[in-house]
């Protein structure tokens, strides 16, 4: 059933890769990219790091597809949840876009 074996060397390399990615992420945040680009870069690096942890540290690479399926389904649910929730305020036609906190409905 085991397809690939996670060795100590692979773990060491993964750990170093995770640390390097952490410092790259830190470095990018210092460069001062504007808004969206900075967020996109940071999240992309986080996703790459997650893959390393999932496949090597959590041994997903040597497990049955059933276990991988759970990760895939979870990921799809998260994407659905986050995009739909964020899509509401992003596509609002009301004005102003940001609700006025002092505004109260008329009693």
């Amino acid at each position: 059933m085991i397809r690939a074996h996670v060795t100590g060397t692979k773990m060491l390399v993964s750990w170093i890769a995770l640390l390097v990615l952490t410092f790259i992420s830190f470095g990018i945040s210092r460069v001062g990219l504007t808004g969206g680009a900075e967020l996109a870069a940071a999240l992309t690096i986080s996703i790459v790091k997650t893959f390393i942890v999932l496949f090597i540290f959590m041994h997903l690479i040597e497990q049955r597809f059933a276990n991988r399926l759970i990760v895939i389904v979870t990921f799809l649910f998260i994407v659905l949840l986050v995009t739909l929730t964020a899509a509401d305020p992003m596509t609002r036609k009301t004005y102003p876009k940001t609700p006025d906190p002092s505004a109260r409905p008329i009693d």
């Binding site: 996670v6 992420s25 830190f26 999240l43 690096i45 540290f57 649910f77 998260i78 949840l81 986050v82």
Partner: protein
């Protein structure tokens, strides 16, 4: 004293199927844990879109260097846990116990750094919900950002504590040679939980410390 092999429960045909069931159940549990955090990440996304400038103000309280130190600590602890699982499979239980103990110490380091940060926030009145007070009343979005920061990091902190308990129990079991080549699923599942705690932090760190 050799490690006792795992017993086969009557509902399973083989040890392999029994271990697969235990591992699959852990993955399902981790999936549900992830969805718990996903709800909060969704709120973060929605409120950040609504109040970009206010979020900037709320997150300015966070110390990027301390956050990065904690990221390195958690990633390293994940590495030591992965090594522990590797060695317990090779029947090197004492080495695994040592590595698990080291991971618990890393967890403790993480919590100490987090409490230093919390103490600083309390000192600056950067608190959640209505407790967030400054010279001028903070805007609604900043209060929301600060509330999400406290709630998400505190919930993550609770998971760190739970993970430390699991790793501690696994470490004691390894030290007493209760777990070894023929009995390691508990060590493996505790490790899986700890890696999830690490993954959640991998996302909390850029969202609360890096992207301002």
């Amino acid at each position: 004293m050799p490690v006792r092999a795992v017993e086969l429960a009557e509902q399973f045909e083989t040890i392999e199927k029994q271990e697969h069931a235990a591992r699959l159940a852990m993955w399902v549990f981790l999936g549900s844990e992830t969805l718990l955090f996903a709800g909060l990440f969704a709120l973060y996304a929605a409120y950040r879109v609504m109040y970009p400038a206010d979020f900037h103000q709320a997150l300015a309280h966070n110390d990027t260097v301390l956050g990065t130190v904690n990221t390195v600590v958690l990633i390293t602890s994940s590495f030591t846990v992965a090594l522990a699982v590797h060695y317990v499979r090779e029947d090197k239980s004492r080495l695994a116990a040592l590595l698990l103990g080291l991971s618990v110490a890393f967890g403790m380091t993480f919590l100490v750094v987090k409490f230093v940060e919390y103490a600083d926030h309390i000192h600056h009145h950067a608190l959640p919900a209505g407790m967030y007070t400054m010279a001028n009343a903070p805007p609604a979005g900043a209060v929301m950002g600060q509330t999400l920061y406290w709630f998400m990091t505190a919930l993550h902190g609770l998971h760190v504590v739970a993970g430390m308990i699991m790793l501690g129990v696994a470490a004691i079991g390894c030290a007493r040679r209760r777990y070894g080549r023929h009995r390691f699923i508990i060590v493996e599942n505790s490790g899986l939980y700890w890696h999830l705690v690490d993954i959640v932090w991998i996302f909390l760190w850029p969202l609360f410390y890096l992207v301002k």
